[in-house]
Symmetry: C2
């Protein structure tokens, strides 16, 4: 059985990357990964810009300047100031070529057509140099960046209207289990409601992946094989839940083998999610996730998330990890590495109650997964642990 | 001038909460805030459930059991086991009422119609009690919870198909400045591209707020008044960028006063975003944000985010804050409290370069804002600082 680091490495090595790019209006490109560097066509700021409401000065040795002009934001004037002359200027307005400082309005006394400095002004003060933020021809955002709202804002400020992005994967979610019934129906003895399909669809949607479909199948070998074959043929990523253990009615692994899926790994020394399966057929990646919702979700954030990002060509594929002190003692049962639902807030991280693989409730309160390596045994309050940050709004 | 804590408190006190609820299909309710507690109509699990592939036992004093039944997940059988009898059972299957333990298949030896235990089995082992996760009639998720994908999964497992949620606010973004031109046009001297509208629309969309519109206005008092009046009349929240300083061509503050907006505060002892304005007219909240994009965005995450959450009736309105060691020395200029773009990763937090109010680029690399209180002066590597986590995917 492999360890968690090896499993993660295998996913990031074997996961395919989309070969299709598309050009997109900037405002629709949120959550997409850049397929090409974006180069700025302008200097930003495009001109020497006043950072303050005040006075642009052509510095002389004295403290008195004669006021000869007014320049508002948006004005296209570039008056020539002689030494000792000043122009009233406002934030964002272009500083005349002949001015070499801007003094804040609070730091002068105005006397008719003259202003008198209350204190010395440094050369270059309160002027944003042309191209301070970026120069024309320089790379604004590199290929492989997942576009956030802040990136959209930055690119808009450079006048960018279109970007090249990678397509997102089409994802098939296959939920297995004779015991599952659809919501809205009445439960008979022995049945539970199907929830993995709803859950995975929703967490994928949260991350910006809307191209998903769900199919539910019974524990029947022939049916499993047929459905998986068709899912594999028409999707970039297939996520199967359940049916991957060694029980007599677990048909997923056998079906993978028969339809020619190449196993990359099966079983990881971890809790939850020991019987995790990862395989490939052509460019399609296949995960066999646990049937228990909480276990499926832990595996999703640790292993499927990087696969999705890799598919999109993202530079950064895994969720950020950070060291934090544990806020209460925690005793690990067993020797496997653990991914534990946790809440980081204030002075550190708290491992939540309800860690059972079947219980997804604790995930609602979690904003992190605490990773404890193999043989962690007893962890004391104050000890540093590794927390994987979970996406949130 | 008030401090940052007072400003945040005033926003959360004065922000209105939506009075309109709507019933929604569970699968469409992602990112909405629950308007009512959701109560479970079932026990979960609904029956005593096997947590393992193995054998359900009616325990006796010996190690040998006779195998009399087989129960798969989804079966509705509930056979009577006598003391010393066992049933083959699979993960998720109902454990017979007469069984009092499940033994893992790895821990028995099978001998024809008999199984022999390799080690003692505890009473209740590997049985998930009925209602272990939640009891019928108990609250599954409380009013005020923002529904994440994990919540959708949990509610689906309880058979919930519809939920009552609060409506989301309609948001008007008003961008001011004579210097702004639309992307696609050519910049004249003194002009820059309008980016705040694109940026705020995108960060709102990232957070699940799609009901937004942008209007751009020139620095003209009459026009400013007319547009703000109409924005206020038809939206729940109005975000204005720029025009709020005391420059001769800053008309936003004067317009607010003339159209009857009640000022809650103006100016906060902080950097960036000193001239931040917050006011109310009826139930509509109005923010006067800085014109500089990075300053506007800092104020957005610190003050507007809680306002949006309050409007939706969310229990938790502010972004999570956490104490972390600084990974490099940092010197603060000036005495105001600071919100600094930062990246948390590994052993702590790094304050990024490019903190200028005009530069939004650093926000692309940031996953947190470091908050430094007034008069922080010099912060040394290793010193604990407060980091506000930014939403991410």
């Amino acid at each position: 059985m492999i360890d968690t680091a090896t499993a993660l490495e295998l996913v990031t090595i074997h996961g395919s990357t989309s070969t299709i790019e598309q050009e997109m209006e900037l405002e629709n490109a949120l959550d997409y990964v850049l397929a090409k560097d974006v180069t700025s066509e302008i200097d930003m700021p495009p001109f020497r810009q006043s950072a303050m409401d005040g006075y642009a000065l052509h510095l002389n040795d004295g403290v008195t300047y004669s006021l000869v002009e007014e320049i508002k934001a948006g004005d296209d004037t570039n008056p020539t100031l002689q030494k000792g002359q000043a122009a009233r200027i406002f934030t964002g307005a272009p500083v005349p070529n002949t001015a070499n400082a801007v003094v804040m309005q609070e730091k002068v006394r105005v006397n008719g057509e003259e202003i008198i400095l209350k204190e010395p002004v440094d050369q270059g003060a309160n002027i944003r140099p042309q191209g301070e933020q970026i120069r024309a021809g320089a790379i604004a955002i590199t290929k492989g960046t997942t576009l956030k709202g802040t990136h959209i804002g930055f690119l808009a400020s450079l006048g960018v209207t279109k970007v090249s992005v990678c397509t997102k994967p089409s994802i098939s979610i296959v939920v297995t289990g004779n015991e599952l019934v659809d919501s809205g129906e009445k439960l008979a003895y022995g049945q539970i409601y199907q929830s993995n399909g709803y859950m995975l669809t929703a967490v994928l949607k949260e991350l910006g992946y809307a191209n998903t479909s769900v199919v539910t199948i019974k524990d029947n070998f022939q049916h499993t094989k047929t459905v998986l074959k068709s899912s594999l043929a028409s999707h970039d990523i297939v996520l199967v839940t359940g049916g991957i253990s060694v029980g007599d009615y677990d048909f997923v692994g056998k079906a993978f083998a028969e339809i020619g899926v190449k196993e990359i790994f099966y079983k990881v020394k971890q809790k939850p999610g020991k019987p995790l399966y990862y395989g490939k057929k052509g460019d399609t990646s296949i995960f066999g996730l646990p049937g228990n919702p909480a276990a499926a979700l832990s595996c999703f954030y640790v292993y499927v998330y990087p696969l999705l990002k890799k598919w999109e060509g993202a530079e950064q594929v895994s969720l950020p990890r950070i060291s934090l002190p544990l806020l209460a003692d925690y005793t690990v049962k067993g020797t496997r590495a653990q991914f534990l639902k946790a809440r980081i807030q204030g002075a550190g991280v708290t491992i939540l109650g309800g860690q059972s693989s079947a219980m997804v409730k604790a995930f609602g309160d979690a904003n992190a997964l605490v990773y404890l390596p193999q043989n962690s045994a007893e962890i004391k309050k104050g000890q540093m642990v590794e927390a994987i940050l979970l996406p949130f709004k």
